[in-house]
Symmetry: C2
Subunit: 381 residues, 2 copies
Amino acid sequence: MNPKAVRPDPLPGRVPGPGERSWNFGPGPAYLPDEVVREAQEALWRFGETGMGVAEISHRDPLFLELVEGLEARVRRLLALPASHAVLFMAGGARPHFSLVPLNLSKPRRGRTAYALTGYWSRLARSDAAVLVQTEVAAEILEGDPVAIPDPARWNLREPVDYLYYTDNESIDGVEFGSPPVVGGLPLVADMTANLFSRPIPDPDVFDLIFAGAQKNLGITGLAIVMVRKEALAGSLEGWPRYLQYRDWIACRSMVNTPPTFNLYMADLMARWMEKEGGLAVLAARNRKKADLLYAAIDQSGGFYRNRVAPACRSRMNVPFRLADERRTPQFLEAARGAGLVQIAGHHSVGGCRASIYNAMPEAGVRQLCEFMREYQRTAG
Amino acid sequence: MNPKAVRPDPLPGRVPGPGERSWNFGPGPAYLPDEVVREAQEALWRFGETGMGVAEISHRDPLFLELVEGLEARVRRLLALPASHAVLFMAGGARPHFSLVPLNLSKPRRGRTAYALTGYWSRLARSDAAVLVQTEVAAEILEGDPVAIPDPARWNLREPVDYLYYTDNESIDGVEFGSPPVVGGLPLVADMTANLFSRPIPDPDVFDLIFAGAQKNLGITGLAIVMVRKEALAGSLEGWPRYLQYRDWIACRSMVNTPPTFNLYMADLMARWMEKEGGLAVLAARNRKKADLLYAAIDQSGGFYRNRVAPACRSRMNVPFRLADERRTPQFLEAARGAGLVQIAGHHSVGGCRASIYNAMPEAGVRQLCEFMREYQRTAG
């Protein structure tokens, strides 16, 4: 394994040469640590002493079962997850869980639930859930300038509900909760797709369920992680396909059918990498610093770049910004690409720019982006 | 890309050295062509001139969208699929489609369907479907010695049904249909997980739906392919999660949510490889020859090895066999591993041995297995 990678020259205008990797600010699929990619390259050809590539070994091989058990143990250690909660690894992304959560935690066709609507993903989650259960609106993002999450103490929670659902980090809107909205003792359900593993969870026990797609801090697309309090699962789901039932997934230890083995392998590499880096407190401090650098570059641009989210709820993972002169955006993105800074376009639903800076993005990459932004402003002025 | 691989010595007892790859007879996850693995290794680090690894590039990047379009075009060419059928790529394995097929092609809670039970997978598919629709038994495997598929002309099809479901290749039982059971003009649904792309499909238009997990002839686990006649899809599925509806997947061109990008990339590499090898007629001839070699080694062992499936419905993909003296099985498997022949254990539900010989397994690998089997018999005698 060769953890060293050739980096593009920091000066704007230099296209990375053959074999060089750019600084990748993609929202997911996202940047992977170079050393993780190097290890995966080797394992793809041959996994340990098995004589097989890691994508070619049986999911029932003792070595692979050991890998999945090790992955679960690492996740539990990293998050300090209590034994009351099962850890599931399921094929596919986070979206299926917009439906599986109400199906498994409430009463299909009759249950009552509450949703905090703080951006694109929570609205979509509520819309998917509304097909299955009743969904009260607990809160809505304040759409002023700045945009802000309303104080949870004043959320609307009149109804008895089975859970309060929120999106811990809205990756498109760039809005993140500073801490979980613990309200009236209600069990929480959180979509942590875009910020799981980016910081410790203060008290995992307040959650009935946390889920996340893996393609941000836990590897690549095609895998989701679900952590669920076993006793929170609703009873019988007669008449529903068994593969939609978390209960069955727990019973089969995430092997209801052949799992996405390479995606699990990548998750394990990322979990090992997070432990090696020092765990979530260390990563959280780095992530705080990286986000501070980038928001400072935006705020100190005299309005050339703008982010309209209130500082207290700005995402540390996904930093959306716009150029005051929006006509410049395509040229800005093209120049960034030329400087070896890629995947900075905003989500197709909103446009603009967005830099996603998950665990794998080192401070050096963020500094280079900040320098490029200042340089671009200077030459464009 | 370096397509050359160091092969283990053919003599029994030689463990593959560092960096060598064994002959892998795994049922899925399964063997991949060395040249495909080599190309994937490179792309994992950097995909073309993007400066990003293939697992790190956005699924909405024009280059990636082009890859998925190219994959669909290749699949259509390889199978001569008519325009009436949509091609979907969905995260997860084949099992979810045991539920999605009745949900989307029949009337949930009321529909009538027919199932041919020829082994483990068709029985499981019927059991999953029975939660959702009525499932008549069209036929059952004849459990004599030899085991045989009953003549479709005499299948039990009294009821009007929405489709006739069968499993084209039973990977655990080693039973395969020689040709599709076209009966009374009924629309067919086929699980082709273990033999899709191993031979041409004579007339794809007799199928309302074909599905398959990718991990046999189309790459790695975590992806399924579904080919469905658009006009066969049932109407409204109100009250059901949208991500369970093939209609939505067609509308979103398989991007209802972030797709498993690396798994799609591997499928594309495999589709390119199949085209490069000459297409399905060429591969079918090779597969026929490989299977003939292996069944001959079994049949000519004087009962030392046994396969009890009738020759006309023996699988060309999965060759299960047992040693007459079953107590020898662990030792046989261990000796095979020592000779660089791996993943030959039978499915955990039945034990014994099974050699899976998909497209990627060259004739040389099968010859080496046959030679080993003869050598083992000689020395064990």
